[in-house]
């Protein structure tokens, strides 16, 4: 079993990272920057009242989604919880349909019916975007079970927060994954806080949360989420285990979120000190860490990094414009996408009453 202690290994030189071309590295860096710029624009327009409900920002965690999803091939699938913007952009969803979804518009990826927590792109093997803590973990298990049942290649990466590790559905999923040899990788994105309660106040654990996998005879590992190379190197091992051996894994990726649980979380500066947040920004910000490395490697220049950031900012601004100018759903739209059969006007849908509005 892997030690819970941080490792001094040079992950940049692991084979999976050695295989990255300079172009691909810049692409990954760009994705991380795009996620941050997208969310910063989202925050601005949430505060301006253009976005309703909750806004759970991913800022600070970008290397996790980008690093892990960069390992996915056409056969691999992804599912996460409500902090889903990073994963959505990393699988290739466009800023326009994501921003429009948050603005509650017809042009949103879920036609304005899901909102910030419910981005979906099955055509990109991205299955949401789920609202209830740990409720997506049996679904991720099921996607992977489905791959195996249908005789398909690949695995499923199922993300959850550290607040999800004490839910029964998660433990049921771990048990079934190990019992049935399911090609799933559970990824705990440990940002240290389940809403306003720190890990120490919410979870009983030995060395780390991932160690709980041992109870199910499951391989596990702990990863520094500020280093995209480490994220890729270690997640690759778990994904290969799933793909080739149909064995599940439990990964814990240590990360940090700059903002509250959601933007409605008014207390996030009370349960954390400003020094703690500043320390992370200075030393562990995944974008800055990767930027420094790429400049050291000679892959990126300061000027190019600034240009990438500017382009992402412009893309986000254009997405805001697109979202703002898009039409809202109609009252008639409320009643579609409830049943497959009625949406498709099948014979079955014409028999009996499906809706009970008087």
């Amino acid at each position: 079993m892997t030690s819970a202690n941080p490792s001094p290994l040079d992950f940049a030189s692991s084979p999976i990272n050695q295989s990255l071309t300079p172009e691909r590295k810049i692409e990954l860096f760009t994705q991380m920057v795009r996620i941050r710029r997208f969310e910063q624009a989202g925050l601005k327009y949430y505060q301006a009242g253009k976005i309703g409900g909750f806004l759970h920002l991913y800022i600070g965690q970008e290397a996790v989604a980008v690093g892990t999803i960069s390992l996915g091939g056409p056969d691999d699938h992804f599912i996460t919880a409500y902090r889903d913007h990073g994963h959505a952009l990393a699988v290739g969803m466009g800023m326009n349909e994501c921003m429009a979804e948050m603005f509650g518009k017809q042009t949103g990826c879920s036609k304005g019916k899901g909102g910030s927590m419910h981005f979906f792109a099955p055509d990109k093997n991205f299955w949401g975007g789920h609202g209830i803590v740990a409720g997506q973990t049996p679904l991720g298990l099921g996607l992977a079970y489905g791959l195996k049942y249908l005789g398909r290649e690949g695995c499923c990466l199922c993300y959850l927060g550290d607040g999800a590790v004490n839910q029964g559905a998660f433990h049921e999923s771990l048990n079934l994954a190990a019992l049935f040899d399911i090609p799933v990788v559970f990824v705990i994105e440990n940002n240290g806080y389940s809403m306003g309660t720190s890990q120490e106040r919410s979870s009983a654990f030995g060395g780390c949360l991932a160690q709980r996998g041992e109870a199910y005879g499951m391989e596990w590992d702990v990863i520094d989420g500020s280093d995209i190379y480490e994220v890729r190197a270690k997640t690759h091992i778990a994904m290969e285990r799933a793909r080739k051996e149909h064995k599940p894994s439990l990964l814990e990726i240590d990360t940090y979120r700059y903002y509250g649980h959601s933007i409605a979380d008014a207390n996030h500066k009370k349960y954390r000190t400003p020094e703690e947040i500043e320390h992370y920004k200075q030393n562990h910000d995944p974008i800055n860490v990767f930027r420094r490395k790429l400049i050291e490697e000679g892959v990126l220049t300061e000027e190019a990094a600034t240009a990438i950031s500017k382009a992402a900012q412009e893309e986000a601004a254009a997405a805001v414009k697109f979202a703002d100018e898009s039409p809202a759903p109609t009252i008639a739209d409320i009643s579609t996408d409830v049943y497959w059969e009625t949406d498709n006007q099948t014979e079955a849908s014409k028999i009996g009453r499906h809706f009970f509005d008087s």
């Binding site: 990826c109 949401g128 049996p138 559905a169 048990n175 014979e347 499906h354 009970f356």
Partner: protein, 328 residues
Amino acid sequence: MSRTLTYREALREGLDEELARDPNVVIMGEEVAQYNGAYKVTEGLWKKWGDKRIVDTPISEAGFIGMGIGASMLGVRPVMELMFWSFHSVAFDQLVSNAACVRYMSGGLCHCPIVVRGPANGGTNVGATHSHIPEGLFAAFPGLKVCAPATPADAKGLIKAAIRDNDPVYFMENTLLYGNSGEVPDPADGDFVIPLGVADLKREGSDISLIAHGRSVIHCLAAAETLQNEHGINAEVLDLRSIRPLDVDAILKTVQKTNRVLLVDESKPFGGVAAMISTIIMENAFDYLDAPVQRVCSIDAPAIYSPHIENEQLPNPRRIIKKVLAMA
């Protein structure tokens, strides 16, 4: 040609035919495979179809139902057995937040072609935790479909329709009906499927309409015989079979014919299926009523254990007859 099968055998035959028709149909649940099913509905299917198609799960309802929902999004067609529908509560998040809502939340990008089936009834002296009757509860969630067959033929025809449906269907059986026998069409005569959303007039009458589903239909038919023979009252019995989609036309037709309605529903009175049907009748056929709509539901308390009295908590012919006579 039809044969006589028990309700249990008819269900099994329906499952077996769907397993043969579609390789993506997989049955999963507690004790469904090697143990042959807690109530023997799946008896013999594991031996015939093997480990891949008939999957024993641990006692882990949230886990395996969620697993089935996730697999269905990829095209698998899981048919999941709840040993008792009463155990829905430990999987409730999966059953309602995921199965019922995933299509909507994704703007129609995902769908969830699952069946969850098992017995949902009182009357077996197993106490409050094993006697929940949640068809009204689940029918209240748009995105879900619910049916509750009363006879062997309906059980077979509806389970096949449920499996072929592309939306989540929650299929409520009854442990006290599993051993009942009835005529079921021979498979040699063609594929026997009963669409969801079609009620069945189980007995024609002219004086009053008894509207029910599940085992209450059997009670209504028995009560109707007594009412005819001893009181000269000719009751019509409409079996809803499917709760959502609901055959509103059949309900309104029988109301317009007899002008008196007694709703018989094993669920509790508050917000149950009967409460919904009553509203539909009031909204659509008020002028056809010669008397207020009345109901016989389970007495409004958690299910009592005592074998001496449980049948009196549930609808039964005695309670139905008493209520009809009071309405006359």
